[in-house]
Symmetry: C2
Subunit: 420 residues, 2 copies
């Protein structure tokens, strides 16, 4: 039997687990304060739902589950599709949309959902990337107004602040602004996906690099130059002023309601936020998933490099399950990334209980053992975390290990204490 | 796209989810008080580990995962085994034993583990039984003394008590007593598995039914009669007195240390327990899994019929992974069963926050919206759970739904409040 976890997945050790549990508690409590209700979907989804082209590249990475019993017929199977009936979910958004469509009649309207759980992607194993990882999503179904975006931003920033992050920022854009900028520059609509993939690399490859990629896609030089000029025109311009500047340049290519909506989100968030963070309008923000239809956002802690969450509005996905379109807007926390940052920075869980360890000599009489167990119960009743354990031969090592785990109060129980 | 969950699995609605979350919190906090540390293993295990005959009948119920990429070759595949490399775990004990073997050097000794998570079994779907369900296990590795059994019983009974159960009992037996009783009666060792399966039905089919099954297995009438007489001899005899009575009848067939061990567990639990429950010596208790080697126990709440947890000592499993045997003892909570009982009995979560809902008229100006959002933040700061939501057309229905969810304080925000 193999004592390693399967390739690309990992066991979680106690020290990390404590931090994960603490962060999950903060996430749950905070989102609950904001009126989100937790739900759960099975980890397994039907293969049709997972292969419906909602998931982009992720659909290539599905762990597929074999049919069972009579339904499995190796002899007559022509292709993989004949052998498989389900798979492990690659995100929480597809199952959540299915869930909402399925239980709509039993759910409050609008519905504010919290979902936390593992997802799986069979990516090439690499440092810091695993094939099973957790996602924490909040989503609001049935609210087409920017109250949804605002609440998501307020809730998410409160979570980060309660975990202990300072100096984070939320960048925001709108898929419709993204498209209007491309349209207004004369870039061809057929290539939007590729154009945005190139634009997404702006901070890595610079303006010249993006220009090069766009030209390689067959875009006209003049259009590319107009396009990049648009971004330059709001470089260093902040927030709603940048939105106004862009809206003026874009003219008829952008519905004025879209610009107005963006400005209102700024206004609402700034008025109601009780934690400090920067809200930044960033016309270069793309977000990979094709299902977004309106505002999109990404949250980052610059001192730790990368994004720790993101989301946006996806008004068309639920309709694919439910028959009728339902506005939807969601935010996903990069849970594993946050845990990594906390682990690397020696995070201390606040408000942990004091810890006492009682070590019992091997062969201690039942009377003395009972006395030790009663002491343990008494200390627990006083609010301490109490471990009882049999002594091992190397008592010094055992005590060092316990001290490393935070057991600063270690008491020993011997049959004949006087002799020691 | 299919809006139903896959066959045999289920979506969890908000009302149940709140209770699950609450119970999990009680479980985690209580076990932590007893010095257990939480760990996590991947949901996916290698197919070799799942098919090693540790899991008994469960091994027939594995959800198997297809190989991917180059490793998957439909043309050359002769059997299922050629197509599959892993599967979803059917319990937490096999992964935990693998985990302990893998990380032994980094873990404290003895190691007290808590593991909570979903497991999967492709059973025929039926009422109350699902193909994905949660298990909550505590296990102690590296302690061969009865301190392990005692602590498991104390911790588990404290959990049940904190959840709110009264009048529960823990039945205890020892696999070695079970075997000694069969041996002493002259039943043949080759048939122990079948004999114990028959014995396990005693409360359903009665003494006569068991006798019939044993005779059908080819046992001698005299042996069967001796065997059943042994059980009768302790009928109505309680606790350690029953152990003494049996030990006297069994004579050399039972190692006196086994009886002594059982009596000590009684003594220790009764001395140290701070919550009321009945500890019952039950020589008819079997526990299905073949891997148990010593004491076994089962916890039940008689007014709700069935068992809500069980466990025992399994000193030989870790050795199959680690190379060297490590004593192990564990207890598994029947989490789904407990949730069902609580749901059916209108369980109220204690200490929930007061809930306020703010309903915002559609088209409310940004100024009034901001004011409402600020009110929400203020109420949250005062410790309330606050939902903000856009009004839907059927406002009366919306308010009824909110009231049903516990939002007893509902406030409405209109652009022109005077007109109403």
């Amino acid at each position: 039997m193999n004592k390693k976890p399967v390739n690309g997945m990992r066991d979680i050790l106690p020290a990390e687990m404590k931090i994960r549990d603490y962060v999950l508690r903060v996430i749950r409590e905070t989102y609950r304060d904001f009126g989100f209700t937790e739900i759960e979907t099975p980890c397994v989804e039907s293969i049709e739902n997972l292969s419906s082209r909602q998931g982009g590249e992720n659909e290539k990475l599905i762990f597929k589950i074999m049919k069972r019993g009579e339904k499995l017929n190796l002899q007559t199977a022509q292709s993989e599709g004949d052998l498989v009936d389900s798979g492990l979910r690659y995100d929480l958004t597809v199952p959540l949309s299915r869930y909402f469509a399925n239980h709509q009649a039993d759910l409050p309207k609008p519905f504010k959902a919290l979902q936390i759980g593992p997802v799986w992607r069979a990516e090439r194993p690499q440092k810091g990337r695993f094939r099973q990882f957790y996602q924490c999503d909040i989503d609001i179904f049935g609210d087409g107004t920017n109250l949804a975006e605002t609440e998501l931003i307020l809730a998410m920033s409160t979570v980060l602040s309660r975990i202990g992050f300072r100096n984070f920022n939320i960048r925001i854009n709108d898929r419709r602004i993204l498209k209007a900028m491309a349209a207004c520059s004369g870039l061809s609509e057929d290539s939007y996906d590729e154009i945005f993939i190139a634009l997404d690399k702006l901070d890595k490859i610079g303006e010249e690099g993006v220009a090069k990629e766009l030209l390689a896609l067959g875009m006209e030089e003049e259009a590319v130059s107009r396009y990049l000029e648009l971004f330059r025109s709001v470089d260093g311009v902040e927030g709603t002023r940048a939105v106004d500047t862009l809206a003026a340049s874009l003219g008829g290519a952008l519905d004025p309601a879209v610009a107005e909506n963006m400005k209102q989100i700024f206004e609402l968030v700034l008025a109601a936020s009780t934690v400090p963070f920067d809200l930044i309008f960033d016309p270069t923000l793309v977000r990979g998933m094709g299902y977004y239809t309106g505002p999109i956002f990404e949250i980052a802690v610059p001192e730790f490099g990368s994004s720790v969450g993101g989301g946006g509005r996806y008004d068309e996905m639920v309709g694919r399950f439910a028959g009728q379109p339902t506005p939807a807007c969601g935010f996903s926390i990069g849970f594993e990334r946050i845990i990594t940052i906390l682990m690397e920075n020696g995070f201390e869980i606040p408000g942990s209980k004091e810890k006492t360890a009682l070590l019992l000599e091997r062969g201690l009489s039942p009377e003395k053992t009972a006395a030790a167990l009663k002491d343990a119960q008494q200390l627990r009743a006083e609010g301490r975390q109490v471990l009882t354990a049999s002594m091992i031969k190397n008592r010094k090592f055992q005590k060092e290990q316990l001290a490393a785990e935070g057991y600063l109060d270690i008491r020993e129980y011997y049959e004949n204490p006087i002799e020691r």
